[in-house]
C-alpha cells in the first residue's frame, strides 16, 4: 500500500482551555477532492490551520507524504486563505500576487524575467484568470480574487491544495465556476484538493470524500456513507435528519 499524501491521526485541538476538536483522523490520496463540511464555528478553519502548521494540535499528528510537517515538505501544500485584506487602490496587480506565490517568502526583490512571466501566465491560465492579469486585485470581484489566489497557490506546484471557505460570499455563477476549476485541477493535474465549506451541495458533483465536522468531532468517508441520518445524529449528539431533494442534500435538526 502506498503512503497517503496527507494523514491526520487523532488530531485534538484545545483553544483557550476549551477542547475544540477531538480525535480527528482521515487521510487523502493524490488527485482526491475532499470537502471539510460543517456548520459555522465547528472548527473547519482550525483544522486547516493545524494542517498548515499554523496551529499546534494538543494531540495527534499530521503527516505529509508519511513524514511530519517541516519546512521542506511545506511546499507540497498550496494554501488559499478565505479572503484578501487588500483595499481597491493598492498597487498590486493580479500578476503580482501570483508572482508572490513563486518566491514571496524569500528575501530581496523578485526581479522580473521572461521565465517568471511565463510561469505567472501559465498559472493564471490554469484558473482562467488571464483576462484580468494586469488589473489591481483589490478591484476584482470575490470570484475573480479567489481565482487569483488559487493561481498564487498553484504556481509553486503543490501536491495538495488547501482552501478555506473558497465559496463564501460568491454569487451562484462564480461558485459553480470555482468548483469546476478545482475539480479540473484534481482530475487533470492530480492535485489533491481539500476545502472547507458550510454547504456541501455545490460540491456534490466533484467531491470524492467528505470530512463532516460537528460538535468537536469529525466523520470521514465517501459522501453517501457519511451523510446519513444515523451517522450525523451520532456526530451531532442530537437527532438530525438528512433529506435528499432534487439532488440536493439538506441536513435538518430534528426534535
Amino acid at each position: 500500500m502506498t503512503t497517503p499524501l496527507l494523514t491526520l491521526d487523532g488530531i485534538g485541538v484545545r483553544l483557550g482551555g476549551r477542547q475544540v476538536l477531538s480525535d480527528v483522523s482521515f487521510s487523502l490520496e493524490k488527485g482526491e477532492f475532499t470537502g471539510i463540511i460543517g456548520p459555522n464555528g465547528a472548527g473547519k478553519t482550525t483544522l486547516l490551520r493545524v494542517i498548515l502548521g499554523l496551529l499546534e494540535p494538543s494531540g495527534g499528528r499530521v503527516l505529509v507524504d508519511g513524514t511530519p510537517l517541516h519546512n521542506k515538505n511545506k511546499s507540497a501544500i498550496g494554501y488559499v486563505p478565505q479572503k484578501l485584506v487588500i483595499d481597491p487602490d493598492m498597487p498590486l496587480r493580479a500578476r503580482d500576487v501570483v508572482s508572490l506565490g513563486l518566491d514571496g517568502h524569500k528575501l530581496g526583490f523578485g526581479w522580473p524575467s521572461r521565465q517568471r512571466r511565463e510561469l505567472v501566465d501559465e498559472a493564471l491560465a490554469s484558473v482562467g484568470a488571464q483576462r484580468y492579469a494586469e488589473a489591481r486585485v483589490g478591484e476584482l470581484s470575490g470570484g475573480e480574487q479567489q481565482r487569483v489566489l488559487i493561481a498564487h497557490a498553484l504556481i509553486s506546484r503543490p501536491k495538495l491544495l488547501l482552501l478555506d471557505e473558497p465559496l463564501a460570499n460568491l454569487d451562484l455563477r462564480s461558485e459553480q465556476e470555482i468548483v469546476a476549476v478545482l475539480g479540473k485541477l484534481a482530475r487533470e493535474q492530480e492535485i489533491a484538493v481539500l476545502l472547507s465549506a458550510h454547504d456541501m451541495n455545490p460540491l456534490l458533483g466533484v467531491m470524492d470524500r467528505i470530512v463532516y465536522v460537528a460538535n468537536g468531532h469529525a466523520a470521514a468517508g465517501p459522501t453517501d456513507e457519511v451523510v446519513t441520518s444515523a451517522g450525523l445524529t451520532e456526530l451531532y449528539g442530537h437527532h438530525v435528519d438528512v433529506v435528499r431533494v432534487h439532488d440536493r442534500v439538506l441536513v435538518v435538526a430534528g426534535d
Partner: protein, 311 residues
C-alpha cells in the same frame, strides 16, 4: 528663469546641503511610505512622528543634535508599539492615543525648559517644523547612512512585506516570521520618520511619508512603479519647496524666508489633489455573465467588490 532660481542659490552651502538631505529624506520616505500605506500603518507612522517630537525636544534640552533625539525616541517607540501589539490592524488605538498625548506633553515641557536655558525661541520651531537650511554639514554622513540602512532593510524584506500585506496567514504558512518582519519594518519606518523630522519637522514628517505614496498609489498599478513614483513626487516636492523657500527671501515681509516645510507640505498636497484629476475606471474587461450576476440576489456580500463602487 531668473525669478525661479534667485542669484546665489546653487553656490550657497546651506542650500546644497538642504538639496542633498532633502533628496535622501524624500526617497527614503517615498519608498517606505508605499509599504506603510500597503500595510495600513499610517497611524503607526504618525505615532512615531509624535514621539520623535519628544526625542527631538529632549535632545535640544540636553544640547545634542536633534536627529539623534528623533532617532532614539522613534526606534524606542517602535519597540514599545510592537510590544503593545500595534501591528494588528487598528490595534490598541486607545493605549496608543494616551501614550501619544503624554509624549507631546513631555515635548512641550522639554521645549519650554530648553528655551528658558538658552533663550533661543527658534528651537521649538526647529523641532516641530524642521530646519533644512541650518543642518550641520557634519551630520550629513549620518543622515545618508541612516537612510541607506532603512532602504536596504525594506529592499531585503520587499517581497515578504508584500506577501504579508496580501495575507499574513499566507506568509506564515510559507514559513515567514511575520512578527520579526513587522519589527524590522517598524524600525525602518522609525528611521525614515526621524529623517523626515530633520527636514520638515517632527510634526509634519508624516506628510512626506504618506502624501507622496498616497499620490503614487492612485497613479500606478505595480508595487515597483508605486515606489518609484512615490520617491519622485517626494523629491520634486522637497526640491521645489527648498527653491521656493530660498526665493521667498524677496517676498513680503522682505528679508525673511518662509518655512521650507510650508512649501513642501503644500506641494505634496497639490500633487495628491492633482492625482484625482486622472479618471479611474475599472480596467478589468467584464465577461458577459458578470453583468447579469450583478443584478442577481446572491451578489453583494462584503467580499464582492465591484470597481464601480470605488470610482
Amino acid at each position: 528663469m531668473h525669478y525661479l532660481f534667485e542669484p546665489g542659490l546653487f553656490s550657497s552651502g546651506p542650500v546644497r546641503t538642504a538639496l542633498l538631505v532633502g533628496a535622501i529624506v524624500a526617497v527614503t520616505s517615498g519608498v517606505i511610505g508605499v509599504f506603510t500605506v500597503l500595510r495600513g500603518q499610517s497611524f503607526a507612522g504618525h505615532s512615531l512622528a509624535d514621539i520623535a517630537t519628544t526625542g527631538g525636544s529632549g535632545a535640544f534640552l540636553v544640547g545634542i543634535n536633534q536627529f539623534w533625539g528623533f532617532l532614539v525616541a522613534g526606534v524606542a517607540a517602535a519597540a514599545v508599539m510592537e510590544a503593545i501589539g500595534v501591528q494588528r490592524r487598528r490595534g490598541r488605538d486607545v493605549a496608543t492615543g494616551v501614550v501619544l498625548g503624554g509624549a507631546l506633553g513631555l515635548a512641550a515641557l522639554f521645549l519650554y525648559l530648553g528655551t528658558l536655558r538658552t533663550a533661543t525661541t527658534g528651537a521649538s520651531f526647529t523641532v516641530l517644523f524642521g530646519s533644512i537650511f541650518v543642518i550641520n554639514p557634519d551630520t550629513v554622513p549620518a543622515l545618508i547612512a541612516s537612510g541607506a540602512v532603512a532602504l536596504v532593510v525594506v529592499a531585503v524584506l520587499a517581497r515578504v512585506l508584500l506577501l504579508t500585506s496580501v495575507s499574513p496567514d499566507l506568509a506564515r504558512a510559507r514559513g515567514v516570521n511575520v512578527r520579526l518582519v513587522g519589527i524590522l519594518y517598524l524600525a525602518a519606518l522609525a528611521v525614515s520618520v526621524s529623517l523626515a523630522a530633520v527636514a520638515i519637522g517632527a510634526v509634519l514628517s508624516t506628510a512626506l511619508l504618506i502624501g507622496p505614496s498616497a499620490t503614487a498609489l492612485r497613479l500606478t498599478k505595480s508595487p515597483a512603479r508605486a515606489m518609484a513614483a512615490s520617491a519622485l513626487v517626494g523629491l520634486v516636492a522637497t526640491w521645489v519647496g527648498i527653491v521656493l523657500a530660498y526665493d521667498s527671501y524677496y517676498w513680503p515681509p522682505h528679508g525673511h524666508t518662509w518655512p521650507v516645510s510650508f512649501f513642501v507640505v503644500v506641494l505634496v498636497l497639490a500633487c495628491y489633489l492633482l492625482s484625482y484629476l486622472r479618471p479611474r475606471r475599472r480596467q478589468v474587461p467584464r465577461s458577459p455573465h458578470e453583468d447579469e450576476a450583478e443584478c442577481g440576489p446572491t451578489t453583494g456580500g462584503p467580499e464582492t467588490r465591484l470597481g464601480a463602487a470605488h470610482v
